[in-house]
Amino acid sequence: MNSSAEFDEIYDKYKSDVFRLAYHLTQNRGEAEDMFQEVWLRVVRHLPDQGIRKNLKPWLLTVVLNLHRDMLRKKRVRRMFFLDRKKHEILEASSAEKPDVSLSDPAERAERAATWRNINQAIARLPESQRRIFVLKEIEGLQQAEIAGQLGIPLGTVKSLMHRAVKRLQRDLAAHNPKGEKLKCDAKILSV
């Protein structure tokens, strides 16, 4: 990276993507902001290669994911020494999102905000491994094969974690969804 103008171009293009992923991975505004700053400082320090720049978004996602992994490791150590409390961090997910101004009806807007808050809290309650996969697929829009490549894990593991994440989310959200009544499957194995 050679000039401020070049940096600004990359920064303006990807800053929202980086912040969105950091926010959804951490589910904590303060941590997401720290991570956001660290990601961009790493970009300045470690982006000399022209080759990477052509395909910058996956590289940036990897930086965010690596930083998140480091952060979790540090947290685990702190928790081990009782310096941190898990409950306190995880469900701090604030409603700091941009309000949806496309809806004119305040009731509808409030309802949608409540729905999104419930979804956000359910995502926050997912185990880290499932949340990472779910966020990459559903929020970043990556294909399962791309996620497997990005995280260096088998495609089958990605599918399995995604399936578990969706099941868990559905269970969590069932209370808020009128159609979410629990059904018993009476056809465990159906011949086709």
Partner: protein, 164 residues
């Protein structure tokens, strides 16, 4: 197919074209299994809600603070790089030092080996051997410091082109 397989197929259907057999199996299963049909509906709702979800807002203060921090980092990197490019390469070691080193090696071989043989036989050093060893050690130390001293002198006297 088991319900679990069908649920995975529902997730897969969002990102790839299912084969005719898979589609048929899915449709048949969903027609008979209310739990999987409910799973599909809930998944659709969740997927749609996520697509409409608002993005977390990036505060303008944070955006500007990070931009400034990165510009600062970038400038200091560029300054360091320029300084490195301007700095002159270290001077080569002068040829008399190489010659002296070669002579020392020969002297060491010439005096030290007979001295050691003598020590092994008599279990003591003669005065001649001790003097030779001291001389070799002194010269070796002097030669070790010559390149360092000459380089320090070179660095402390800037090149003519750099003097402003």
């Amino acid at each position: 197919m088991r319900c679990q397989d069908i649920e995975r197929l529902i997730l897969d259907a969002g990102e790839r074209e299912l084969s005719p057999e898979e589609r048929l199996a899915l449709e048949q299963h969903l027609a008979q299994c209310p739990a999987c049909a409910s799973h599909r509906d809930l998944w659709k709702d969740l997927h749609l809600s996520l697509q409409k979800a608002p993005s977390p807002a990036l505060s303008p203060e944070l955006e500007e603070r990070v931009r400034l921090a990165c510009h600062e980092e970038l400038n200091s990197r560029l300054q360091r790089q320029t300084r490195r490019e301007r700095s002159t390469p270290s001077p080569p070691v002068p040829w008399p030092i190489w010659a002296a080193l070669a002579a020392l090696t020969v002297l060491t071989a010439g005096f030290l080996i007979p001295g050691l043989e003598e020590f092994l036989q008599k279990q003591s050093f003669s005065l001649r051997t001790v003097l030779a060893l001291i001389l070799i050690l002194q010269n070796a130390l002097a030669l070790f410091f010559v390149p360092i001293i000459s380089r320090r002198r070179y660095v402390s006297q800037p090149a003519l082109g750099q003097v402003e």
